[in-house]
């Protein structure tokens, strides 16, 4: 690709070309270093056994999301800088009102069964996700799409119910992986047909998934290794020992204490990147005592974030405000950081709120995610100095999502990275599907709508900046820290990185010769 063709792309009106540029740089870099790249070999990955489906519409667990990432492609995807880049799309543009988007698609893409990838497949896949009868967890993030239309074989148009600058971000979601429109939907766990760098050769639930190199992959020359095998292993100790002894090449996911345990182990490195994933304690703002803003602020001020990050993630967390936009995000507002730990100040706020003798609250938690229970315990300890007695209810994992989450007034959960609009829309808008705090602030609702309709980055940044200030002041949810994404791997592995969007990308993975 020449520089002039990049220039050509810049000319299209109101196009988000940033991603195209990143991709172009990648292509240039790949062209220059092709000669030295080692190819071939098998990469063995140890992961958790919670695999349940490879139907993209129902991806929710880590191993499923990661295997699907290698087998399928989205039309757009997240860069390491948390911007959106084209994947099966080449470029896109929106109308001036931001209510209609046109995506141009790559013409050189084939599915694993040899069929051509066309606009029809995008219409099928996204149309399926926004079908209420399918009940995909992606519905809540895509339901602003009213129609998906194939204009020709390589052009797709999306119609939106209201102006929204964040359609590309929304389409980069885990569940947005493009299926072949003629696929047998009942057999996706064993016979996936994607466009991705690897083809699914074998899938045995609870045992392993075998992926073979796709020789006709559209991103030429990639992937570099012949085979990737994911092993489902229940015990984290077993996974780590297997990595140390060379039986495995990569172990994901790992938590903070596991990363600390791997320090200084010869032949093993841990790649780490701060991310937008976070743990949160949400308070229902319409249930006493959390309906009193002073109580919420007292809890906020009594939160020792350093101590909680230490307890729950071995001190690897990064700190932002009490809102879901992380310091790594281009839209982050540093003025909206959370107040420092001040138990005396919290005591005063509590007295002002009418609780001079302290207060007792019950925090629900569960080991559904590594570190959640540790966060709750550290929170209990940090708030005790302010006269706040946190009783911890440790609930069973089996029913946490259906019986506790969104039901109990004070609960702890985790969230993976999303773009600012996505994160705010699904958890803070008054009509959000996962409004954990029952937050109902017409001003924030309006600002979110304004941000979606704003035409330039600077306008959007100003609006999101204001939302961040409001949320940190209003504290519907306490977000003590943002989690890093960690990948443990052997020194033999190159080209694999921790991705801030919790994507695990193997198409550039290779094994060096030593």
């Amino acid at each position: 690709m020449s520089l002039s063709s990049i220039g050509l792309m810049f000319r299209s009106k109101f196009t988000l070309v940033f991603g195209v540029m990143v991709a172009a740089v990648f292509v240039l870099a790949a062209c220059s270093s092709d000669a030295e790249v080692n190819t071939g070999g098998t990469i063995r990955v140890g992961t958790t056994p919670d695999s349940i489906t490879l139907d993209p519409a129902f991806l929710t667990t880590n191993p499923d999301i990661w295997i699907a990432k290698s087998v399928y492609n989205n039309i757009v995807s997240w860069t390491h800088e948390l911007t959106v880049q084209p994947e099966l799309a080449v470029e896109w543009e929106a109308n001036d009102a931001l209510t209609s988007y046109t995506f141009k698609l790559r013409k050189d893409v084939k599915f694993h069964n040899g069929e051509d990838f066309t606009a029809e497949d995008v219409v099928f896949t996204i149309g399926r996700l926004i079908d209420k009868e399918l009940a995909s967890p992606a519905l809540g993030q895509l339901d602003f799409i009213t129609a998906v239309v194939a204009e020709d074989d390589y052009t797709v148009r999306f119609e939106l119910e209201a102006p929204n600058a964040f359609l590309p971000e929304a389409l980069a979601l885990y569940q947005g992986k493009i299926l072949d429109s003629g696929v047998d939907l009942d057999n996706l766990l064993h016979a996936a047909n994607g466009t991705g760098a690897f083809m699914l050769e074998e899938h045995i639930t609870g045992e392993r998934a075998v992926l073979k190199r796709n020789p006709d992959y559209w991103d030429e020359g990639k992937p570099y290794v012949d085979e990737v095998i994911f092993f489902y292993m229940a015990e984290s100790q077993t996974r780590l020992e297997a990595l140390k002894s060379g039986t495995l090449d990569i172990v994901v996911p790992i938590g903070g204490s596991e990363a600390a345990g791997l320090q200084g182990v010869p032949g093993v490195t841990v790649d780490q990147v701060s991310s937008g994933s976070y743990m949160v304690m949400a308070m229902m703002t319409d249930v006493a005592p959390f309906d009193n803003k002073l109580v919420r602020q007292a809890l906020q001020m009594a939160t020792d974030r350093e101590a909680i990050s230490q307890a729950a993630y071995f001190g690897l967390g990064s700190f932002g405000g009490d809102h879901p936009i992380p310091p790594t995000d281009p839209y982050y507002n540093p003025d909206a950081a959370a107040p420092a730990y001040d138990p005396e100040g919290a005591k005063k706020l509590l007295a002002e709120a009418g609780y001079p003798d302290g207060i007792t609250v019950t925090l629900h938690t569960s080991p559904v995610f590594g570190g959640l229970v540790d966060m709750a315990v550290a929170f209990k300890e940090s708030t005790a100095a302010a006269g706040i007695n946190v009783e911890i209810s440790r609930d069973p994992t089996d029913s946490y999502w259906s019986k506790v989450w969104l039901v109990e007034p004070f609960q702890s959960v985790h969230w993976f990275h999303r773009d600012p609009n996505g994160a705010l829309s699904i958890t803070y808008k008054s009509d959000a599907p996962w409004n954990e705090a029952h937050y109902n602030n017409p001003k924030v609702d309006q600002l979110i709508r304004d941000a979606r309709a704003a035409k330039t980055f600077d306008e959007r940044k100003a609006i999101f900046g204001e939302i961040q200030l409001i949320l940190t002041d209003d504290v519907p949810r306490i977000i003590p820290f943002f989690m890093p994404v960690l990948v443990a791997m052997s020194d033999k592995v190159e080209g694999v990185f921790a991705h801030p969007g919790n994507n695990f990308i193997l198409k550039e993975a290779r094994l060096n010769s030593n």
Partner: protein
């Protein structure tokens, strides 16, 4: 004998029926079902309703149970709700892996445990007896997940002699890669050895004190002959029951050993079927395991009768 067998087998059938009812009832009481497992956090009430309808979970309990029983009676074990594969295709490879592991553990544990038990039992109170008895107490008290991790740390992480996990590449089986069997076998053997050894020792001690053994010794029979002819056959009878009971225990131990070593056996499949609430798969595994348990006990009873003419079957 035939009448005895017929009665016992029909009792086993009844047991299996009760087991299947119990498993069904328990999974009904447990919070969550296969729909919440599939949807995870996406389990909004509307989504759950749609998926339950699709999976047929909305039918009343009794009708789902009767459908399942009807299928079993026609040797139709059904499909896994999550993996959408025939149950037997999932169970058979795991069953053979587990049988290999359990077989190895028995081959190692039973002869050594019996030999050690006899050896310790004929000289109770000596130093070797104390050593073996105390060691076996430790082995009984340590759960497999502790023994397993200790063995990994020692033989794999420190000495680098053996692989730390029992993962298999495509085309491999445990028998084609026996090194992966050693640590799981040792882990399973620990408790098994200790139980059988202690039982044998106690029985041998008991028999040694009987008057017929004293008579045999006093009439000048060589000690060797006393032990082989009189002590061992009599002391073996209760040991047979212990071995048979331990087949049931082994199947439980397999769940933990499969997890610690990532061994592709029945235990992991069972655990997966429970966490995913995959009822047809769980039912099939529960029936299979209780069936093995019941039949091994039946075998023990028959063996008991054949060895001991005082017991009459009928």
């Amino acid at each position: 004998m035939a009448q005895f067998l017929a009665r016992r087998i029909s009792l086993i059938a009844l047991t299996l029926l009760v087991v299947s009812l119990a498993v069904f009832a328990i999974t009904e009481i447990l919070p969550g079902d296969v729909a919440t497992a599939i949807l995870g956090r996406g389990a909004t009430p509307e989504n759950l309703e749609i998926l339950r309808q699709e999976l047929g979970l909305n039918a009343p309990v009794y009708s789902r149970y009767l459908d399942w029983v009807w299928g079993i009676l026609h040797w139709d074990w059904g499909e896994s709700m999550v993996q959408k594969r025939p149950i037997w295709d999932l169970v058979l490879p795991r069953l053979s892996n587990s049988a290999v592991l359990a077989g190895f553990a028995f081959l190692v544990a039973v002869p050594t445990a019996i030999a050690t038990g006899i050896w310790a039992g004929i000289r109770p109170g000596g130093l070797p007896d104390h050593a073996v008895s105390n060691a076996s107490l430790v082995a009984i008290s340590l759960p497999e997940f502790v023994t397993g991790v200790l063995l990994i740390v020692l033989f794999s992480s420190t000495l680098h002699w053996l692989p730390s996990s029992s993962i298999l590449l495509p085309g491999e089986s445990p028998l084609s890669k026996p090194s992966i069997l050693i640590l799981p076998t040792l882990t399973l053997t620990g408790v098994l050895f200790a139980y059988i050894m202690r039982m044998t020792r106690a029985n041998v001690m008991g028999v040694m004190e009987t008057s017929y053994v004293r008579t045999a010794i006093l009439k000048g029979l060589p000690m060797r002959k006393v032990i082989l002819r009189h002590v061992v056959p009599n002391a073996m009878l209760p040991t047979i029951s212990v071995v048979a009971m331990n087949i049931g225990y082994m199947l439980g131990g397999l769940i933990i050993v499969d997890s610690v070593f990532a061994y592709p056996g029945l235990g992991r499949l069972l655990l997966t079927s429970i966490t995913q609430r995959d009822i047809p798969l769980l039912q099939a595994l529960a029936l299979l395991i209780s069936g093995v348990y019941a039949f091994s006990n039946l075998l023990a009873d028959v063996a008991y009768a054949l060895l001991n003419p005082r017991v009459r079957l009928g």
